[in-house]
Subunit: 476 residues, 2 copies
């Protein structure tokens, strides 16, 4: 652990500020907090504080603010953008939220629950289920990510089509502001027009305006029935037409609509043991879709009928319904295995983009053509949440490529893909956020008015710039 | 029109700044803009500018900002809180948005549309319907309120239970900032995590941070079927139990759940010609509920079955389903006639409160007991959107009362009701906002941390304090 020369005194003072909260400083105990899970970044830190209560966190932030010590909040450390990794200066304090992990309240009659930031997403889902309710945020990392991180990054995932992003699922938050004051607004209300929506501002701010310590979340009744299908479709246009038809046939019951190219399924089958392609690999495009309902109703029948109609018009080439929960889980294991399969397959470059659903066919056609032309040794693996316009538009080198080659190609590919995204009115970060990774991209694709407004808010709420420095934007 | 003594020169300069945009200054043409529709406030103004384009509005705001001229944005002038009425100084400029009323784009495949601020809500609904889609914001004033005002106040209304508030219905906005710069982010995206959610901040800011000029809105597929019922229930607890049962039986198809006390129905029947009580007036509490679906399905049957079960357990005493669209509209006319009936019935005091749905029975019991005890000559008419916890908790003097008596009672009643709301974790403004009317109430029921944070943002984005001065909070 490399720390500045006057670190001894600083550490002693910090330890006093932490009070009863553990402060990790040993090389081994600090190490897991210093790198992101994609290993894109490796930082240093003054230490890692692990507060247990809002009062402890408040003391720590007040201390850091008074001394201008940078603070890096960290939940489950699952950021794809280095959003929770400290810089290399060794002067920043990492604050882990894991110990603040209480379920404070569940109100089934109001369909709401209040949880602390350090609760695992899976624990939140589980607690909701035990109360006969459903919390719809669903990510591959549910077992390791924390709800505080989910909110700080406005997490998306598999059910956005129906339920929205993390911000849409939140009724209230509690947060410690940079100077240690506690913002508490854990009202469990669906309607509350009393001033600015500070909650919406703090959610998705990636820890640059304060640290979310608890949230009151919306719940839904428990899911009673599910119907899941795997489809082969002729092209992306047909997939989008099928999306509209399923909406027309099932309304809000459609909760997931994932687009999968053959390349993604091949990768998963090759690298994830036990995975198989439900409809073979003779088509270019596949869809995994799911209906669910809070009511007992014949969803399989409804889905079957809609797909039969789509097959008769040629918009679906082939389809198979999950006959039981085992098959359903197998479909989803295939889908959720893709990121791991890509990692195992070798080097690649990732993009987390969205465009209007209506623009997906043209965007995919243009971007794919560019990749074929400009990256002849790469394989396009563009898959994801097409139902809400979000694709993970990745290029992989499956035949091996040295890191230097990929590093040279990456900025060229990123520029081309993101320029096409912008031309289609899309976003260069649909759900992963900005973190450290996309600071330059955000600056390139965001107007001066908008960036200036964000910076004005940052200066107003964090005048000393201690909160997660270097994330979202570099200090002005 | 009373204007400051150097008004001649100021007006001439303002007229130049307005360019091609009309600037009204005549007493008669300005008069409708100087008072709110409840006639709680009457102000004066330098004039009323009616820009037609974003560029014109930008010029006007830049001019006002340079000179520190206060600006009062006004849409359909339907605020319940004086949010769009200028003060009495005669130094403020009212800016009417009515001429910026284009439907810019509709994308049915993406379920989105982009509209300008001055579009009537009814026009937005209509344009969506003509494209085979549905825009779910629904208010009694749909024919006169404008979407820009709906967004600036984060309007609620009859469908919040299912679709959320105006903020939840918005994908993107365009706004002119106080210094005339244009913030444009009309992306039609369901997922976009690129920095702070400035959209959510400007929505509901009641014109204190800038003027919303256009918005990209979420659409849904057209509604295909509806089922509407009028119920008699023994008490508020039973109503809330029925709400949960309907959710369990109908899931998201439940879009409205309005609680109506006998007093409200009596008032409507007495003062709104052609109105009748569907189930008579022998019970204390009634409910108007509606299911709707984007799919052809037997909703009447579903609702009938659910109500039959609720009748068998005694939670519903009596029920009648609308047999046709005429009966359905009659049920809604009764509901929507209540505010007018109250006005015709004489003086009263209004509250727009919300509490968690689970707290409604206790809150109504306690607040009603207080009114009976403390206001023996008043009649409680507490009705509204119980499905989302929002009641219009009003006290009316039906036997006539002089204005002086009501004015003396009003602050006492407001204090008692709002204190009870706060004790139940509720909001003193569920959907109407703060405007001028509730500035003191907001200060009383909001923490110093929260108010201080709002003020810091106000100062950062509107350093000269020109935007809708005196609304939400008094200048610091």
């Amino acid at each position: 652990l490399s720390v500045p020369t006057d670190a001894g005194a600083a550490l002693a003072a910090l330890r006093r500020a932490c009070g009863a909260a553990p402060l990790l400083t040993g090389v081994d105990e600090v190490a897991p907090y210093l790198s992101d899970h994609r290993h894109l970044y490796r930082g240093q830190a003054l230490g890692v504080a692990l507060p247990d209560t809002v009062a402890q966190l408040s003391e720590i932030l007040a201390w850091c603010n008074a001394r201008g010590v940078g603070v890096v909040p960290q939940g489950g450390n699952t950021s794809y953008c280095g959003g929770a990794t400290p810089d290399e200066s060794g002067t920043q304090l990492v604050i882990g939220l894991a110990r603040m992990n209480r379920i404070r309240a569940i109100d089934a009659a109001n369909l709401s629950m209040t949880v602390e930031a350090g609760c695992l997403l899976a624990s939140v889902q589980q607690a909701a289920a035990e109360a006969g309710c459903y919390f719809p945020l669903e990510l591959g990392s549910a077992g390791s990510c924390q709800i505080g991180g989910n909110l700080s990054t406005n997490a998306g995932g598999l059910n956005v089509l129906r339920f929205g992003m993390a911000r849409d699922l939140t009724l209230g938050i509690e947060a410690v502001l940079p100077d240690g004051r506690v913002f508490q607004r854990l009202r469990a209300l669906r309607k509350d027009n009393t001033g600015y929506d500070l909650k919406a501002l703090l959610i998705g701010a990636e820890g640059t305006l304060g640290i979310i310590t608890a949230a009151t979340l919306k719940l839904w009744p428990a899911i009673r029935t599910t119907a899941t299908a795997f489809l082969a479709v002729p092209d992306v246009s047909a997939a989008i037409a099928v999306l509209a038809q399923l909406r027309g046939a099932a309304g809000e019951r459609l909760n997931s609509f994932e687009l999968l190219p053959r390349a993604a399924i091949e990768l998963a089958c090759r690298h994830i043991p036990g995975t198989r392609a439900p409809l073979g690999l003779s088509n270019e495009w596949y869809v995994l879709c799911e209906l669910s309902s809070f009511v007992d109703e014949p969803l399989d029948e409804l889905l079957q009928q809609a797909l039969t109609r789509a097959i008769s018009t040629g918009q679906v080439l082939d389809a198979t319904l999950a006959a039981n929960e085992g098959q359903r889980l197998a479909f989803w294991a295939l889908r959720e295995g893709i990121p791991t399969a890509q990692r195992r397959a070798g080097l690649g470059v990732k993009h987390d983009i969205s465009v209007p659903v209506s623009a997906l066919p043209a965007f995919v056609a243009e971007a794919s053509a560019w990749v074929r032309r400009a990256v002849p040794d790469g394989t396009l693996v563009a898959y994801g949440h097409a139902g809400d316009g979000n694709l993970h538009f990745n290029v992989n080198w499956l035949d091996g490529a040295d890191a230097q080659h990929v590093a040279t190609q990456e900025p060229v590919i990123r520029r081309a893909i993101h320029d096409l995204v912008a031309a289609h009115g899309g976003s260069i970060s649909a759900e992963h956020g900005i973190g450290q990774l996309k600071v330059d991209e955000l600056r390139r694709y965001t107007s001066a008015v908008e960036l200036g407004t964000m910076r004005a808010i940052k200066r107003a709420l964090d005048p000393k710039g201690i909160m997660n420095p270097g994330k979202i934007f570099t200090p002005s």
